[in-house]
Amino acid sequence: MNPALRVTDLRVSFFTRRGEVKAVDGISFEVGRGEVVGLAGESGCGKSTTAYAILRLVKPPGRIIGGSVYCDGAEVLDLDERELRSFRWKKVSMIFQGAMNSLNPVHRIRDQIAEAVTVHEHVSRQEALARAEEMLSLVGISRSRTTDYPHQFSGGMRQRAVIAMALALSPTLLIADEPTTALDVVVERQVLELLKDMKRRFDLSVLFITHDLSTLAEFSNRIAIMYAGKLAETAGTKQLFSNPLHPYTSGLVRSLTGLTERGGKLWSIPGSPPDLAAEIEGCKFRDRCPVATEACSKEAPELLEVEQEHYVACHSVTNG
C-alpha cells in the first residue's frame, strides 16, 4: 500500500551572510495511510522547515537543495506551478504555528473557509458556504458563531476554525505544526481530541510537529525525533517511550516525566542545541551526550534499523 508521504534524504539549507545553515540535513521518513507520525524536537531543529519543504513553502534565503518528497503518487519537488496549486490544500494541507496568523482578521470565519474551497474547486458559492458551515459544525463551532470575525473567537475556537479550514477539501495528509503550543492545558486537550476525531472521520494521515513529546504519547502511531537537522531516532510510540535508545531521546523522555520526587531537582539535558551554521564533524549531539566516544567526533552516525521498525542514529547503540 502506498504511503501517504515518503520523504527521502531531504535537504534544506539557508544561505545567509554567516554561511550555509543546514536546517534539514538529509532526513527520510514515511507516513502511512491513516497513520499519525510525530516529528519531535527542540526549537530550531528543523522540524518546521521540513513541513514547509513538503509544501514547497520554503522562502529565500532558504532553498530545498536535495532529496525527494513523494506524496500520493506525485513527486512534489518536481511539480510545476499549476500542479503545485492543486496539490496544496487538496492533497496536503497544513495547520501553521499560531492560528491567529492563518486567519484574515477582516473576513468572517465562514467566508474564509468558503474562499479556500472555491479557490481549489469549481463549486458555486452556495456550495462552498454550505461546506464551510458543515466543517465548522464538525469542529464544534455553532452555526450562530460562523459569521463572526477571528478576533471574536477565543484561542481554542480559532484553532478549531483553522482545523476546519485545513480539512475543508478532505486532504490525504494533514501537517500540524505545533497546533497546541499557544493554548492552555484544558483547551489543548480539547483540540487534541478534536484532531483525533477528525482523523478517524476523514481517515487522515497526520504529520504532527511539536516540541512536546507528551502530546504525541497518546496521539501518534510513530515518532521521529529530530536533532540539529537530522533524525536521531524513529520508532513506534510505545516502543519509543518504553525503550528509547538514542541518548537524546532518553534525555527528552526523562525530562518529561521527571523521575525525581517533588521538591528534588528536575532532570534536564545539559547544554543547548548547536549552531547550525558551524560545520560540526561527526555526531551533532556529542557535546551534550553522556555516552559519546571517539567515533562520535569523527563520523556522523547513520539511521540504522536496530529492532523491528526501530531506527537509531547513534554509534553507541549500533556498535554495542
Partner: protein
C-alpha cells in the same frame, strides 16, 4: 461582595508576607453598545495570603484573572477595590522612598522571553538597568562583577552572553537573563508569570530548577502563575485555583494532588494527569465548553454552566470559601 469568611481566613495568618484582601480589578471593555459602560471583571473578590519563604502557585486558564492578580501585587495595575498588604502595610499608600524600597523587594519574571528584554540593550545593560535606576552599586566595575555573578547563578556562561543582544540568544537563555535581571536588586519576593510556558518542554525543567535553586540561595518567596498543573506540582508548596476572577480551591500541593474537591480543579487535574476514569466522568471533552466571558459572568458560582455536578443552589449565589480539610479551602456547594 466580600465574604467575611474569606477575610477571616486571611486574618488567621497575620504574620504573612502578603495579605490580599477582597481584591477586585475591573477593566473597561472593548466595543459594546454606545453609551453602555461595560467592564471586564478580571478579578472579582479574591482574598488570600502568602507566607514567608513559600512557593504559592496560582493556577488557572486564560481569563481566570491570575495574571492580573500578579500585576496588581507588582503594582503595575491598580485595583478597583481591595487592598494588598505587604508586611502589614498597604502597598497603595507607598510613595517615594517606600515605593522605591518596595520595587527593590518585589520583582517579576514575564511569560514571553522574546518580548521581556529590551531589544536595544545588551544583556549587561538590561541587568544593570535596575541597579542604575536604584543607585545601588558604586561604579561600573562593581556592576560588571554583580552582573557576572548573576549570570553565573542562573546557569549562563557569562562571557558568552554578557555583551550580546537578546536576538542573539535562544528562548531559554533569554528567560535566564530575565531571571538574572529580576535578581539584580536582591528582591525578597518574585512573581513568575508563566515562566516556562513559551519554552520548549525539554528546557522547562532546567529553568524551573534554576528558580528552585535561587529560592534556596536568596531566601525568596514566590508567586508562580501558571495554567499548567505540572509546573505547579513540581515547584510549589501550595496551590490556588482561580476561575473567571474568583478562587475556587486552595490547599497544600500534596493535599491537592491527593484529592481535589472542586469540579474545576478536577478538570485541570485530569488534563494534567490524563486519567481515563476522569474521562468517563466528564464525557467527551468537547462538551466541557470554554471559559465564559468575564464581562458577563454567570450568576452564582462562576463555573456552574460547565459543571457536571451542579445543583440548584449553584446559579443563585456564589459559594464562599470554606475549609473542608485542614488548610484546604473550597468554594463549592457540591464538593466532591
Amino acid at each position: 461582595m466580600t465574604s467575611d469568611k474569606d477575610v477571616e481566613i486571611v486574618k488567621q495568618s497575620s504574620n504573612q508576607m502578603f495579605e490580599i484582601r477582597n481584591l477586585k480589578v475591573y477593566f473597561p471593555a472593548q466595543g459594546g453598545e454606545l453609551l453602555r459602560r461595560r467592564v471586564v471583571r478580571a478579578v472579582d473578590g479574591v482574598s488570600f495570603s502568602i507566607g514567608h519563604g513559600e512557593v504559592l502557585s496560582l493556577v488557572g486558564e486564560s481569563g481566570s484573572g491570575k495574571t492580573t492578580i500578579g500585576r496588581v501585587i507588582a503594582r503595575l495595575t491598580p485595583p478597583a477595590e481591595g487592598a494588598i498588604l505587604f508586611e502589614g502595610r498597604d502597598i497603595a499608600s507607598f510613595r517615594g522612598p517606600e515605593l522605591k524600597a518596595y520595587r527593590r523587594a518585589v520583582q517579576m519574571i514575564f511569560q514571553d522571553p522574546y518580548e521581556s528584554l529590551n531589544p536595544r540593550l545588551t544583556v549587561f545593560s538590561t541587568i544593570t538597568f535596575p541597579m542604575r535606576i536604584q543607585g545601588i552599586a558604586r561604579d561600573e566595575n562593581e556592576m560588571r562583577e554583580r552582573c557576572i555573578d548573576l549570570l553565573t547563578r542562573v546557569g549562563l556562561r557569562h562571557a558568552d552572553v554578557i555583551d550580546n543582544y537578546p536576538h542573539e540568544l535562544s528562548g531559554g537563555e533569554r528567560q535566564r537573563v530575565s531571571i538574572a535581571r529580576a535578581l539584580a536588586l536582591r528582591p525578597r519576593f518574585i512573581i513568575a508569570d508563566e515562566p516556562v510556558s513559551m519554552l520548549d518542554i525539554s528546557i522547562r525543567s532546567s529553568i524551573l530548577n534554576v528558580l528552585t535553586e535561587l529560592k534556596e540561595q536568596y531566601g525568596l518567596t514566590y508567586l508562580l502563575i501558571t495554567h499548567d498543573l505540572r509546573v505547579a506540582y513540581y515547584t510549589s508548596d501550595r496551590i490556588m485555583v482561580a476561575y473567571l476572577g474568583k478562587l475556587m480551591e486552595t490547599a497544600s500541593t500534596e493535599e491537592f494532588m491527593r484529592h481535589q474537591f472542586h469540579p474545576y480543579s478536577r478538570l485541570l487535574f485530569s488534563a494534567f494527569a490524563d486519567l481515563s476514569s476522569t474521562e468517563q466522568q466528564w464525557g467527551k471533552w468537547g462538551t466541557t465548553g470554554e471559559i465564559a466571558s468575564a464581562i458577563d459572568p454567570p450568576g452564582g458560582c462562576r463555573f456552574h454552566p460547565r459543571c457536571p455536578f451542579r445543583v440548584d443552589r449553584c446559579d443563585k449565589e456564589p459559594p464562599p470559601l470554606s475549609e473542608l480539610a485542614v488548610g484546604h479551602y473550597v468554594a463549592c456547594f457540591n464538593p466532591q
